[in-house]
Symmetry: C2
Subunit: 146 residues, 2 copies
């Protein structure tokens, strides 16, 4: 593939894609949000070749999105856990979930987000923090800083 590096672009989206811009990586992160922690569980869930999984997990650890932690000795076993940085990806997960729900041809949303304390469904919307206006009702532009 000879992947081009994007890290040099002065753009936060490019920086994000430098870490996540590959089809498997975000699926691994998704599974991690769903509670998967072990190599073989990721592999079975995604049906991903072992070598590819190894390289993706290494890269996630490298980028401090996941952490490889030993959870038993004899035999040595490790689990892969989201770091704080990794948990920060919830917004990305949610956005992709919503877009897929809306635009893919899956019949009904396969997953619903739930508020654990009330048990009610969550319907995430992006709003501006100050005005509490949904972004969908704003004319959003952008400014390049210098």
């Amino acid at each position: 593939m000879k992947r081009t590096s994007l890290g040099h672009m002065n753009c936060s989206i490019a920086q994000t894609l430098e870490v996540l811009g590959d089809p498997w990586t975000l699926l691994i992160v998704r599974d991690a949000f769903f509670g998967v922690t072990r190599f073989e569980d990721f592999r079975r869930s995604l049906d991903i070749p072992r070598a590819t999984l190894t390289s993706r997990l290494d890269s996630l650890v490298e980028h401090d999105v996941m952490e490889r932690r030993q959870y038993q000795q004899r035999p040595e076993r490790h689990q892969y856990l989201l770091t704080e940085k990794g948990r920060g990806l919830r917004g990305v997960m949610v956005s992709m979930l919503l877009w897929g729900d809306k635009w893919s041809d899956l019949a009904e949303p396969p997953v619903t987000l739930i508020d654990a304390s009330t048990g009610g469904e969550i319907e995430p919307v992006y709003v501006d923090r100050r005005s509490a206006t949904p972004l969908s009702e704003l004319k959003v532009t952008h400014r390049f800083n210098t």
Copy 2:
């Protein structure tokens, strides 16, 4: 690369990644949000090989995220525009922007979102539509629908 297809997974995130799961595609979409429409402008902006750009644009058109429209004859020239489905990706863009702002080592955010009608900065936050509570303050779980 022999890319595995993800379209068969019963998961909206996998469906989304089936369309966007490659490093270039989302950068093209980003540029489209920033107003780029023409082949050569995408190419210069991203420094992407022409053949790769052709294949990515074709795929985006194929997936109905962008539309190829002729904007002049003699010589024939086309522009690539986001469709409604493509504009629906704003949430994904915003999430990646925020994550990159927070976690990459760029000094200050290179891009700020602006409300075009007031000129003020927008600070996007995910809230639950009903309760208007930020997701960051909720214990978010999920339910698999059958």
